[in-house]
Every structure is written in structure tokens, then in C-alpha cells.
Point group: C2
Chain length 198, copies 2
């Protein structure tokens, strides 16, 4: 059974794919792209390292523009990133019947509420899985350190394959400083697998 995993190449979406594979699913890794940057490249490399099929889903740049409107209006990225994630799930659930992502228990964003998840699954007749939702920060740190070779990337220094890369590009186009909205943080990318079949 195929499961379509929203995939950035980071440790969370990589571990989610691994858990689903171990449950007998065939993960197909999906990187969403709004046509602003070729930001899918790092995710594509990581998908190859993990040995899973990979697809880029090109979605309407309007979604990204509207998210950036929200970010500039609010002064922080939370609502804009949530907006993108919900739109992505809405659109992809028209063609894929089992969707997954790497959202963790301690993530504040992106995150759907319980009733949003119920609504998505019922309206679209899909299954939506977040395999890491019951795992805390420490547990995931231990697990991903054990399983993966992880590259840490200082935010904004490399074109990563998450929503943030294209958001930053649009902010710059508009003459805004991305650092004003994204405090410095670390992103991760899987560059090797230590243990696969555990």
C-alpha cells in the first residue's frame, strides 16, 4: 500500500517514512514546490539516500503569496506556514488516498487541530497519518541520532526543501528581510543512514 509522505529531507519526515515502511507501507516521498526556487534538490538527494521514490508536486504560487501576506501582516511565520500546510493537504488529498507528514508532538507549527483532521479525512475520504505525533523531543533526538547521519543547517544559509526556503525568497522579492520573521534556528537534513533495518 502506498503512502504519500510530505517530505523535506529533514529528520522528522525521514523518520516518519521509516516507521511507515516498517509497517508494510511503500512510502512515496513528496516535496511541494511553488515554482520560485528549485528547492526540492536537497530532499531529492535525501530520498535517494533513504532508497524511496520521490516526486515533486508543483502547486500554485498563489498559495505561497497568500502565506507571505499572512506572515508580513502578523509579523511571525506561524499562521502563514499553517496555511500552506493545510492547503497542501487539501489539494494532495484529491489525488492521494493515504497521506502522511513528519509533524511531532512538540511542534507548534504546522499543526492541524483534531477537528481539522477529522474534517479532512471525512470530506476527502483519505487517511492522514502523523507517525511522530506521540513522540516527544528527547525521544526523537535519541532515535534520529541513532538511525541517521544528520547535517545541521543554519537557517537561511542553504536552500532547504521546506516551505521556508520559498517563503524567504518571496519575502526578499518584496524587499523584506527574512530574518525579521524567522529567528535564527537550525534545520536538519539526513545525509546518511546508520541503521536501516533495525
Amino acid at each position: 500500500m502506498k503512502v504519500y509522505v510530505l517530505f523535506s529531507g529533514g529528520k522528522d519526515s525521514s523518520l516518519s517514512s521509516l516507521i511507515l515502511k516498517n509497517l508494510g507501507y511503500t512510502p512515496i516521498l513528496i516535496n511541494v514546490n511553488f515554482g520560485v526556487l528549485d528547492s526540492y534538490k536537497l530532499a531529492e538527494e535525501t530520498a535517494k539516500i533513504l532508497g524511496f521514490d520521490f516526486k515533486v508536486e508543483k502547486l500554485d504560487k498563489e498559495i505561497l503569496e497568500k502565506a507571505v501576506d499572512l506572515i508580513v501582516e502578523k509579523g511571525f511565520p506561524r499562521d502563514g506556514i499553517n496555511y500552506i500546510h493545510k492547503q497542501v493537504l487539501e489539494i494532495l488529498s484529491n489525488k492521494y488516498k493515504i497521506l502522511a507528514d513528519g509533524i511531532r508532538r512538540d511542534d507548534k507549527v504546522p499543526k492541524l487541530s483534531y477537528s481539522e483532521i477529522q474534517s479532512l479525512e471525512m470530506r476527502k475520504n483519505v487517511q492522514y497519518i502523523s507517525p511522530l505525533l506521540g513522540f516527544g523531543y528527547k525521544t526523537l533526538r535519541d532515535l534520529t541520532n541513532k538511525l541517521f547521519i544528520i547535517e545541521e543547517i543554519k537557517s537561511g544559509t542553504k536552500i532547504t526543501s521546506d516551505y521556508e526556503a520559498e517563503i524567504r525568497a518571496i519575502l526578499k522579492e518584496r524587499g523584506e528581510k527574512p530574518e525579521k520573521y524567522f529567528p535564527e534556528h537550525k534545520q536538519t537534513r539526513i545525509i546518511g543512514v546508520k541503521k536501516w533495518e533495525v
Copy 2:
């Protein structure tokens, strides 16, 4: 690394153990008992079928009595069962450093709030994992049907290894009818494994 899984022998705690094993943990299955019935027997059999170590943790009957007080007072089992589950986690986190259970996304009870989980992990310096928290009803039905041979048990007809069995016994001791508090429902027990290493 050992993980202590609160285990009833049902499909949820069985699948949780499987996911944790596939992530490289060694699951030790724990059935909680309050000394009222030998209700751990079915869980013990299922643990043997799964091939995992099994332990009975005998806890103070006071906890069960207080839960039954709550159930009778409220007229429904939710708060009483939640009370037991929280007490069990509090007590076991004094001796076990990684705890897990089979709570699912769509469970209403037992369930800890996000702040209760944070509080437990910080105060006790433990990790608490609910591997099924990001999985919905349909997904779990498909997965457990694929992986396990499941026995369905009409509630109240067999001494199952969950909190309910001993709650029912205390209700009867007090001259109450358990059916008044537990509407008829189905419990499950794993009696065989179809696919283990997937």
C-alpha cells in the same frame, strides 16, 4: 534500550510494541493489576505470542477504589479511567525511564493533555511515548487486520486485561451493575501474528 509498554493484550498496545521494536527498542510489556482479579492472564498469553517479555505491576487497590468512586459519582467511566491511567504513569515513571502506551488519535479516554505530558516528562525525567497518537481509526483497523489475528470479545463476557475488568469487579462488590456504566462494546485481543517482520 528498554521501553516499558502499558499492555492489555489488545490490538493497540500490541501494535505500539511492534512499532517500538522496529525502531530498535526492546519492549517490556507491563500489565497493571490491583489485586482484585487475576486479570493479567490474557495479556500474558498475548505477550508470549508476540515474543516480548512481560511483567505484572501490582499497584495499590486504593487507586482502583477511588476510580470507582469517580465512576459512580459521575455516572460514566471516563474520569475514573483517566484517573487510573495518570496514577499508573506517575507511579511507574519512578522506576522506568521510557514508558509507552497504546493511546490512539481518536481515543477520548484515557488521554493526557499536552501539558500533563510535558509535566510528567519534566518532573520525573522520563520519556513517554504514544506511538499511535498520529494514527486514525481507519488506518489502525487496516494495519491491525493486516498484521494480527484478532479475537473480538463482547465487553463483560471474559476477564480481559484492561482496567475495565477490575473496575467491573469492584462495581459488583458494591452492588452496582457494571452495564449501567459501561455500554456494551467490543474489546480485542491478539491471538496470532500474521506478519511480524514487515
